[in-house]
Symmetry: C2
Subunit: 220 residues, 2 copies
């Protein structure tokens, strides 16, 4: 067995913050060629507390320097390592509708180690089309594509009623993670991770802001 | 001045949880015609703690009943009220590319009070096309559309370099909230809310899961 760091399990919210740190520090470096960043600068950008930032940095093994803060390149490298951005992993998209095609065309995924191998659709007449550089394949090739390409992740952009039967087929074929954009929950065995993406979650904050403004104006 | 509850300011994370409660309780009711739900059931579904659920319910004025929990219809009504789902508000989408068109076609927004009035694009040859029932308009109509329709929210799906100049124009025209899907930060005056949607945030958790599995298998 090779020597290795003790396994840490990072929580959902920590992982999301790491991705935000990665974006903001990456953007700042690109814009200002900044070499260091303090926990309070990061906290301010992300509207959180600097103790949270310092705990997260400790959890991924990044040390701060007195009167300087964190070295931006060390933070970025640690996040890339923890999230495995440099270990390419294979993904497929199920559902070649508007959202599936938009995700297939998204140029940013490769920066996170994600490679989209195929876009599958239940409509056989779509097969052979190219969306965002990815070929559309018929859905009956699902199992053979997962096995042949050692696909780890499926991005599910199908209607609610189609989602669970597809999840069952993919799990049986050895898939280990599902990014679920279908508007329904999925039941999967432990060891398979489902991330349910509700596009409407982002709306909660915006609707609340607009609603409060309207309420205030109406009562003035 | 009409009688009203004292204004409460709910935080970002609370608002996101409210949207998740709304989805899960809504789904469960649809599937099982369940009339009540306990804080621990909700907490389990959302992988959080039941004290968090009880605090959130108190913050939106929902009371629990002994040995029963919360009445599902009361929770849903309180969330609709706080987030203003029944006060229709007008939105536009800027950028009629794949993502903009996918969002224009999303049938679920109306359930949250969101009405998409127009889809604007910088390519004048796109004007007049219909995407998801919404007409594409040329970008030089931006200010007149915001003013004529009393638009509160803009959904920005443009390239990074186009985002800030558009945000400036929209804020000058009276816009109060931006849902930013462009891969860059925006600077806006206080009183205008920007929600920056990083599609890649969802990937953090999935990449971590896949990376840990691979690391474990490699060291076995």
């Amino acid at each position: 067995m090779p020597e290795s760091k003790p396994p840490r399990t990072l929580k959902h919210a920590t992982l999301e913050r790491l991705m935000h740190y990665y974006h903001y520090i990456g953007e700042q470096i690109a814009q200002q060629s900044m070499g260091t960043v303090s926990s309070s600068e990061i906290a301010k950008l992300l509207d959180t507390d600097d103790t949270v930032v310092r705990k997260d940095m400790a959890a991924i093994g990044v040390r701060g320097y007195p009167r300087v803060g964190f070295k931006a390149d060390e933070v970025l490298a640690a996040i890339r390592d923890v999230l495995g951005f440099d270990n390419a992993y294979r993904a497929i998209i199920i559902g070649a509708g508007r959202l599936g095609s938009a995700l297939a065309s998204y140029p940013g995924f490769s920066r996170y180690g994600l490679r989209i191998d195929a876009l599958l659709d239940s409509d056989p007449s779509r097969a052979g089309a190219i969306e965002g550089g990815v070929e559309v394949r018929p859905l009956d090739e699902l199992e053979s594509i997962i096995e042949a390409h050692n696909v780890g992740l499926a991005i599910l952009t199908v209607p609610a009623e189609a989602a669970q039967p597809l999840a069952d087929r993919m799990v049986n074929a050895g898939l280990r993670a599902i990014w679920n954009f279908a508007p329904t929950s999925l039941v999967v065995p432990s060891g398979v991770l489902v991330r349910h993406e509700h596009i409407s979650v982002g709306l909660a904050e915006l609707a609340y802001h607009l609603n409060r403004r309207d309420t205030k104006e109406a009562s003035e």
